[in-house]
Symmetry: C2
């Protein structure tokens, strides 16, 4: 670990520390005579000099790090967003520090504090919030402390934290989906609504309900099943629904992985997806595009969501929190064939 420093380079090149520094990072309006510059660069190369980012951060007063907090990086929803974030970050010459919280708000808060210690330039937070105001308040406080230190924050989801937010059109997309399904001839609707208190799930349900209402249709109360926001939640919800003997044409699951679970449950119950019962999801997860039958869903451009959030944090701070809408679009596929 004979870590070579800038002083070593300067000595080797026979110049002062200051000159070496200027030669290497091309400090703003300060310029260095080409001859000296070359000597410094040569010395740096010869000694395998590698600038110490921590020291630079201290001296400059700012880092080149941006933090990304997600619920679960193994979930394709979040890994797609992460992909957008890393791309935008690299574009801006920043490194991404990743935190996967496993849906634990305590860890979200802890990570915010770590990122604050790291003096990360910005934090992008993805993942549905809940309506637990006690937790939200602590989160708000952590974010406020971070921002007081000069950090930028962008959230992905609902604009409930008074920070820049990329808002996914959950309600509008679900309403469009409802309309499209109605247009395809479906009349008896059911929904796998996800857990109570899950805001994304709630928004999608609200939109779906509103969309139905616009066509004088509705969701019978016992046609709404609450279960986890996961594949297994979808399976379990669908199982209950089928067991209840409810007369249903089509089932709306509030996300794709729940829809996948629902499809599995239908199959296991001997009900044909598509011809027997329609199933629709939300998100349009890329890896799920080859399901059979192919899944009707609402596409959310997750990669763009990630880049948009990142760019928001890098933009000039605005007096008012910015809200950037991202359009979602209905994609009708074979899991909901036209009904006549």
């Amino acid at each position: 670990m004979p870590s070579v420093t800038l002083s070593d380079v300067a000595r080797e090149a026979g110049v002062s520390l200051a000159t070496a520094s200027r030669a290497i990072n091309g400090s703003a309006n300060r310029t260095v005579r080409p001859e000296l510059r070359d000597r410094v660069l040569a010395a740096a190369a010869a000694l395998h000099y590698s600038p110490d980012a921590n020291a630079q951060a201290m001296a400059r007063g700012r880092t080149t790090t941006i933090g990304l907090i997600v619920h679960d990086i193994a979930d394709p929803y979040f890994s797609s967003i992460a992909s957008g974030v890393t791309a935008a970050a690299e574009q801006a010459g920043l490194m991404v520090t990743l935190a996967s919280t496993g849906h634990d708000p305590e860890r979200e808060i802890a990570f915010i504090e770590v990122l604050q210690s790291q003096r990360a330039r910005a934090i992008v937070m993805a993942g549905g919030r809940t309506d637990d105001e006690a937790v939200n308040d602590r989160l708000r406080a952590a974010l406020a402390a971070y921002r007081a230190g000069g950090g930028a924050v962008a959230m992905i989801g609902q604009p409930l934290f008074d920070v820049d937010t990329v808002v996914i059109e959950n309600a509008a997309g679900a309403a469009d989906l409802a309309g499209a399904l109605h247009g395809a001839g479906y009349r008896r609707f059911a929904a796998l609504a996800g857990p109570a208190g899950h805001l994304t799930a709630r928004d999608r349900m609200d939109g779906f309900t509103a969309g139905l209402a616009a066509h004088d249709a509705a969701l019978a109360r016992d046609h709404v099943v609450r279960s986890a926001f996961t594949r297994d939640g979808g399976y379990e919800g669908m199982r209950q629904l089928l067991e209840s003997g409810a007369a249903v044409d089509v089932v709306f699951a509030v996300n794709d992985v729940m829809a996948v679970g629902a499809m599995a449950a239908a199959r296991d119950a001997g009900v044909a997806v598509g011809t027997g019962i329609g199933i629709a999801g939300f998100d349009d997860i890329v890896t799920l595009r080859d399901l059979t039958p192919s899944l009707t869903t609402v596409r959310v451009p997750l990669l763009e969501v990630g880049t948009a959030a990142t760019e928001l944090t890098l933009a000039e701070p605005a007096p008012e929190p910015r809200v950037q809408q991202v359009a979602s679009t209905v994609v009708l596929r074979d899991s909901t064939p036209p009904r006549n």
Copy 2:
């Protein structure tokens, strides 16, 4: 940005900087009188003190960062590994800096250099290598420079870089798969072999071939199709295979996403997967477990692979590069029903 420093805390608490430091991080054998310690902690809380990780890194001479380099974080293969890495890192009190290179070796090298600047404690590199020795040499050099600076490295894949490596049993798993398919009654084999020069693909092909040979079976030359290591590569390869009119029972795709593409191509060609033609993959990607028919594959415990690699980098440096085998296991499902 009135960033409060440890000096502020010390002054507020009426103690020296040293005492404040000791009180807050509980410096090794130095102890602080409880009364003072409480006063310091109270002051820190009152002032919302947040230690500067960069300054700590400089003073301590080591960071709390570990780097993760993957080809594509949106790919479930890598996001599963990432999940294991973040979990193990959190366990060890470290932050993960993520780089997604888009399969570009130049960017891999660039990221290694950035992580070196960051003085990251360790780097975990996931993703198949190629046999391009020019590129491999530059990578080797970058890694050597990083390690010379005291950094630890673990690779996931093939042990060709003289560093600690988590080796996935590609050949053995593929051989087992070949045996299992033969045992299920399949006799006329074909393979979607992935691109030439892709070492993971090659290992899996070699294993599959060897496994067949052990049962006096073989892969006709024109039953091996080369195409990209992606979903679309699988689709295209299968299309070619079907078009060629080759007489085939079962197709081995060297990874799951290629198998998914192959399934789609078979369907588009009117060939029933399972009853008409068997298809098998490799990896057992979680999100793909609900395909219809369910996909026969070789399970690789990717999360464990990620944690294992992380733990390798954190262990005491060994004189010789360590190689940790991770077993892969055949999972027979409906895409290759028993043949009689």
